[in-house]
């Protein structure tokens, strides 16, 4: 440890900027470009209606990322709890609006932008759990009593999101929280018991699922069950993917997507659209870029000052969140998981996920930029 460094000194804006990881940012840009290119292809070689829009959104997201990266990390510690409560409040408002009779809604219309509180919660829960675990000593974390508060912190928003209904997002938040519990040092056997409990509760949970959710799970188990409706998506997705072969059918030449056999070729199923045109090589390239991003995430957490437990926890939580997006989406479109409506971040068309993911990257970069500082 270099004693000469004043480890508590705040960095100037320029220092923070120069401390950013530009290779990490570069890979983000490449992934976003792949997204725009695929959207251009889906539209039959046109910028409208998706590619240009997406580029603009990514540019906005990029600005948000840089802003978030240049904010000092202490800020995130300070706002963790108020942000969590704010996100929770919005969730309740959205749910209540749905119940009052505006139909099932997941977002709040801000005029220029539809805000999804559940997306805010993805970040908020990570910040709040990281803060909690950074305060509470290990001995407490490893007792049942010490788990009650974080369990409530997770259970309340998950429950609200579940009844929206948004099974995919609520499960993602749940998995992300479990990962953080694990990182904080919660014993193995507790996860085993929880898992056992959930499996035991399956039949009861099944009862509470909506018909379309049940269908999705049944279809996942047997896609041929209903080839014209729910099974159609996954069958056509597999055909698109499989027919791509090693090198694909070529840019702008995907038949499954262009002839509209493939459902949602620009949103949730964009990975199949891309893989149809660029084959297994294209798909592997996307996996590889994401592997680098995720590795960077772990590297950031490892690299930042050891005194910065909160920062490590936040980085790992957000990184896991990103990994879950990627894994669930690709597993879902390749028929390894049920179709749960999770987009492929940076590539799928849609503003919400860009906002969430770019903010996350910004926060991660903020901690990394201040990697040598011991935070207050």
């Amino acid at each position: 440890m270099n004693i000469l460094l004043n480890q508590n000194k705040e960095l100037s804006l320029k220092e923070r900027f120069l401390n950013l990881n530009f290779l990490f940012i570069f890979i983000i840009v490449i992934l976003a470009s792949i997204g725009c290119l695929t959207l251009y292809s889906v539209a039959g070689g046109k910028l409208a209606p998706w590619a240009a829009n997406q580029a603009i959104r990514f540019a906005m997201g990029f600005v948000i990322m840089l802003t978030a990266a240049l904010i000092s990390p202490e800020f995130y510690y300070k706002i963790a709890t108020p942000f969590y409560l704010f996100a929770l409040l919005l969730l309740i408002v959205v749910d209540a609006a749905g119940h009052i009779g505006m139909g099932a809604q997941r977002w709040i219309n801000l005029g220029f932008f539809n805000l999804q509180p559940s997306e805010l919660m993805k970040i908020a829960i990570v910040l709040q759990l990281a803060k909690y675990f950074s305060i509470v000593p290990l001995e407490n974390i490893r007792t049942i009593k010490g788990l009650i508060i974080p369990a409530i912190l997770v259970a309340v928003p998950v429950a609200f999101i579940m009844i929206q209904p948004d099974l995919g997002t609520s499960l993602m938040i749940l998995f992300c929280a479990i990962a953080m519990f694990y990182l904080a040092g919660v014993q193995w056997w507790k996860f085993a018991i929880a898992a056992g409990g959930i499996i035991a509760a399956m039949p009861v949970l099944w009862h509470f699922l909506h018909d379309y959710q049940k269908n999705r799970i049944l279809t996942f188990l047997d896609p041929e069950r209903d080839p014209l409706n729910t099974g159609y998506h996954i069958i056509q997705a597999k055909i698109a993917l499989g027919s791509g072969g090693l090198w694909g059918k070529g840019f702008l030449s995907g038949t499954q997507s262009h002839l509209r056999f493939l459902p949602e070729p620009h949103t949730d199923f964009i990975f199949t659209t891309f893989s149809e045109e660029f084959g297994m090589m294209g798909g592997a390239f996307i996996l590889f870029l994401n592997l680098i991003l995720i590795t960077y995430g772990y590297w950031f957490a490892f690299r930042i000052h050891n005194a910065n437990y909160f920062g490590k926890m936040v980085i790992l939580g957000l990184n896991t969140n990103y990994f879950l997006y990627v894994f669930i989406n690709i597993a879902m479109v390749t028929g390894l998981l049920p179709v749960v409506g999770i987009p492929l971040p940076l590539i799928s068309y849609g503003g919400t996920v860009i906002l969430t993911v770019m903010t996350s990257f910004g926060i991660m970069l903020s901690f990394y930029a201040n990697r040598d500082r011991e935070l207050k």
Partner: protein, 602 residues
């Protein structure tokens, strides 16, 4: 500090484990990609193609049917169809109203079109009218900007330019029926609008005339809309059918019947080629191609002259006196008579307690075989048949080609009947009566022949005893027919008889002499009773045939050949209920032969 170090160690250790899990899961995804895209790639590539590629068969042009000079008797005409693509049409109802006026559509047509439009996706073309006239096509083309979505489609439709002249034996094509589909799995039958041979040669030679289907592949999208045309493979035209018929002779022969009902077959006596093949009255086969209307079908079915029946091969008639040629030849060959053998005709003959009459009430007096043929004396042949016995008559009949069908590609052929003892025992379970031999001697009783059989018999007699078989198809290799075991001098004797029938003083068909200078023909009349003349009626005086209702009148036969010196053509003519062979059938036969000689068909 120690405690927080502990916490940190957990974090680092467990984040390493999580990192490994993440890498592992990403490799699972990679393996999944390998499985789907490489391991199962071909399967999915096929599925993707079957998703997007739609193949439609194109009906090939049907082979034409030609006469011996290459004149087309069955052709494929262009058929223009008007179709409308609903999604491209603005205000489709307005447009249909306008089109209904231009194309004279009926209420029924409009209903069908509206139903078709409602039942199909908006981009599927719906047929408005087919068989458009040139004028209609022109009108639609000129005003095409007024009818957006209107498409004029060009197809082929079978057409028979000679209409009723060739309905027998060509037949016709028609729409594929459920039954046809069950009997054949050819995908061609599924092509909309495909026609299949239903009758006559069109049916018999359907497989070769049909040709091979072409195909057009399209790329379609998930909703079935055609995105672009891909590969087009034209069909292969069916094999043309070249017939031995001469359409000029065919027309003359058909017209010779005027309003009569009957049949005529003309053979080249040396090759057996059928030069004309007429069954009258006939019908217009074009009516059947697009499905015949109920009214037209009714008319054809209700006609007592049976225009749908091919009388030349499926009409079975007693040969009457024409059969005397067979009997005479059999007797000469058996040696029971010669040219010096004479009979005395008193007008009647007693056998047991039965009295047999000659057509000439007062009798012919003494005559030999040539004179008996010339005058068609019944008594001479009664006696000759008795001397000969039925078995020898039957044997000669078969030798000359009676009592059998021929491989001429017509499935409605009848075998006729050449009775003998065995035949009667088998079919009627009764023993043969001598009286039956007597009436068989003049071609009455059980004996039945078709016009085709009769002309074959005549051709074999006049060509010098060669076993020709009738055929519609020109044989490439001149296959010489086998010579029958019949003495040439005996053939000459019956030929002489037939010459006298036409050319001798007092012959039965002298009015039928050819009007061509220097060419003579020979022939034989025949008149067969359709009803039995009772004793009572004979006693009261036989009613004149002209006084009877049409369907009770006698059938009239005439068979003839020309030129007599070196026969080339033979014809058999039957006129149903034509009363007398010499008065009605003979003039038709001589007209036909004259035409054949004038045309000098080779």
């Amino acid at each position: 500090m120690k405690k927080s170090n502990h916490k940190l160690r957990y974090l680092l250790k467990r984040s390493l484990i999580m990192f490994s899990i993440n890498i592992f899961l990403l490799f699972v995804l990679l393996a999944r990609l390998y499985f789907l895209q490489i391991y199962q790639g071909e399967k999915y590539a096929l599925l993707a193609d079957s998703n997007r590629i739609s193949r439609r068969l194109i009906a090939p042009p049907r082979g034409t049917i030609n006469d011996r000079n290459g004149i087309e008797l069955a052709v494929n005409n262009q058929n223009f169809q008007a179709m409308i693509i609903p999604e491209q049409s603005r205000q489709i109802n307005e447009q249909l109203k306008e089109l209904a006026e231009v194309l004279a559509l009926k209420e029924n047509d409009l209903k069908r079109i509206e139903k078709d439009i409602a039942n199909h996706r908006r981009f599927v073309p719906v047929k408005i009218k087919d068989n458009l006239s040139w004028q209609e096509v022109a009108t639609l083309m000129i005003n095409s900007n007024r009818y957006p979505g209107l498409v004029i489609d060009e197809g082929l439709i079978r057409s028979y330019p000679y209409k009723q002249y060739t309905a027998h034996p060509l037949g016709y094509v028609g729409t594929v029926s459920e039954k046809d589909l069950q009997q054949s799995d050819s995908p061609l039958l599924q092509v909309p609008g495909f026609k299949i041979g239903k009758f006559g040669f069109e049916k018999t030679y359907d497989k070769t005339l049909r040709g091979e289907a072409g195909s057009q592949t399209y790329e379609i999208n998930a909703y079935g809309r055609i995105m672009r045309e891909m590969e087009k493979r034209d069909g292969i035209k069916g094999i043309d059918l070249d017939l031995t018929i001469d359409i000029r002779l065919q027309q003359k022969a058909f017209d010779a019947f005027a309003n009569e009902s009957g049949a005529a077959v003309v053979l080249d006596v040396h090759t057996g080629e059928i030069l004309a093949f007429v069954s009258a009255p006939s019908f217009d086969p074009n009516l059947f191609v697009d499905g015949i209307s109920v009214a037209n079908w009714r008319t054809l079915m209700d006609d007592e002259k049976n225009p749908l029946t091919d009388k030349a091969v499926s009409g079975q008639y007693s040969p009457g006196s024409t059969f005397k040629i067979v009997v005479a030849l059999a007797a000469l060959e058996a040696g029971v008579i010669n040219t010096k053998t004479t009979s005395f005709c008193s007008g009647k003959m007693q056998l047991g307690n039965h009295l047999f009459h000659c057509w000439k009430h007062n009798g012919h007096g003494h005559l030999n075989v040539i004179e008996a043929i010339k005058h068609s004396c019944d008594i001479f042949f009664y006696e000759t048949a008795l001397k000969l016995g039925i078995e020898k008559i039957a044997a000669m009949s078969r030798k000359l080609g009676l009592g059998q069908t021929y491989d001429i590609g017509l499935e409605n052929q009848k075998k006729g009947v050449i009775p003998d003892k065995k035949w009667k025992q088998e079919t009627l379970k009764q023993p043969w009566q001598q009286g039956e031999t007597v009436i068989a001697g003049i071609g009455q009783g059980y004996v039945l022949v078709t016009p085709l059989q009769l002309v074959t018999m005549l051709a074999r007699v006049v060509n010098g005893g060669y076993e020709i078989t009738p055929t519609f198809i020109k044989k490439d290799i001149a296959s010489h027919p086998k010579k029958l075991d019949i003495k040439p001098e005996n053939l000459e004797i019956v030929k002489q008889g037939m010459f006298e029938v036409v050319n001798g003083i007092g012959g039965t068909a002298t009015r039928a002499r050819l009007k061509l200078k220097g060419i003579q023909m020979g022939g034989k009349t025949g008149t067969t009773q359709v009803r039995r003349i009772s004793l009572k009626e004979r006693a009261q005086g036989i009613r004149r045939d002209e006084d009877l209702p049409w369907k009770w009148r006698n059938h009239a036969w005439f068979m003839a050949y020309a030129p007599h010196d070196a026969p080339r053509y033979a014809v058999a003519v039957i006129v149903e209920h034509g009363r007398s062979g010499s008065a009605v059938a003979a003039p038709i036969a001589s007209k036909i032969l004259e035409e054949a000689l004038k045309l000098d068909i080779r």
